[in-house]
């Protein structure tokens, strides 16, 4: 069998009568339109489902995202025990030195510096007086 014989065989088969065809233009148009309609419906349904799933996920995920326990009312604290102590006068802070050297950060002058009150196991600090 050569290529020419195969081509001739195809032509012979083509020359034989074929059964009547149902492929009319009207039938193909109808099939194409219904396929397009199906495709649009599927796309619309898919988009709706995605939107609904996104909305549900957002609604579920928002409260679940904050894991903090429910707030409990805090009872009012007791009055702090304040021991009156004399305020220590601080020397004036020196002016910044030019030349790139950064002076130490001064303490907040509004905060009073108090020494810790004496406790039974820790006596008050006593500064020895030099003779």
């Amino acid at each position: 069998l050569t290529e020419a014989e195969l081509i001739a065989a195809f032509a012979e088969i083509r020359a034989q009568p074929a059964p009547p065809s149902g492929l009319t233009p009207q039938a193909m148009l109808g099939a194409g339109r219904s396929a397009r309609r199906r495709r649009r419906i599927v796309a619309l349904a898919g988009g709706t489902m995605v939107a609904a799933a996104t909305a549900v996920t957002v609604m579920i995920g928002l409260p679940a995202g904050s894991d903090t326990p429910p707030s409990v009312p805090i009872p009012p604290a007791e009055e702090p025990l304040v021991t009156p102590t004399p305020a220590i006068t601080r020397p004036p802070t020196p002016s910044p030195v030019e030349g790139g050297h950064t002076p130490p950060t001064p303490l907040d002058p509004t905060t009073p510096v108090t020494s810790a009150p004496p406790t039974p196991d820790r006596p008050a600090t006593s500064i020895p007086v030099s003779p």
Binding site: L1, I13, P19, G22, L23, A27, M28, L29, A31, A35
Partner: protein, 180 residues
């Protein structure tokens, strides 16, 4: 309906009217069954309708339809089950032929439908549709070398099948024509 869609439908109807028989026959050469050929042609026309706006009109409609026909045929055969959906009535059986007139054609046809599907697709595209190697490769989704080898192997398979049929025939009908 807009004027544009009416024009589109008119063009599509003209194309279907002019090419339906040819497309169906190509599908028939591939699958060797008129019912299945009509299903394949129908699927091709539906896909063509959906893609009508995207396809370049410069002579590529035929190429698109050929590609859809061949790939639908190969994919349908690959599936374990096939969804047979007929939008039109069942085609009538062809009228019976005279046995002596169709003898040679029948022999070749019987051999052709036993050729593996990819080889048969390559043979139909090359020798019936008269496509180039490049176009056949584009439709089958393979290389040009693969098309060459598929065609050569297909012809070789056909020759082997025809020789086998001739041997069977001579074995059944010995010299002198007297049947055992």
């Amino acid at each position: 309906l807009t004027y544009e869609s009416i024009d589109k439908d008119g063009e599509f109807s003209d194309y279907v009217a002019s090419s339906a028989d040819r497309v169906r026959f190509t599908a028939y050469l591939l699958c060797a069954d008129w019912h299945e050929a009509e299903d394949i042609a129908q699927a091709a026309f539906v896909k063509l309708y959906l893609a009508w706006d995207r396809i370049d009109r410069q002579g590529s409609i035929d190429a698109y339809v050929r590609k859809v026909v061949v790939r639908t045929y190969l994919n349908e055969r690959r599936r374990l089950w096939r969804k047979l959906e007929r939008l039109t009535g069942t085609p009538a059986e062809p009228p019976p032929q005279q046995p002596d007139a169709a003898e040679q054609r029948l022999v070749v046809w019987r051999a052709l439908i036993q050729v593996p599907q990819r080889q048969r697709a390559a043979l139909v595209l090359r020798y019936w549709e008269d496509l180039s190697l490049l176009d056949t490769a584009a439709i089958l989704g393979c290389s040009v070398g693969n098309v060459k080898s598929q065609c050569a192997r297909g012809l070789q398979t056909l020759r082997g099948l025809l020789e086998g049929q001739a041997d069977d025939h001579s074995a059944r009908v010995p010299e002198g024509g007297a049947r055992p």
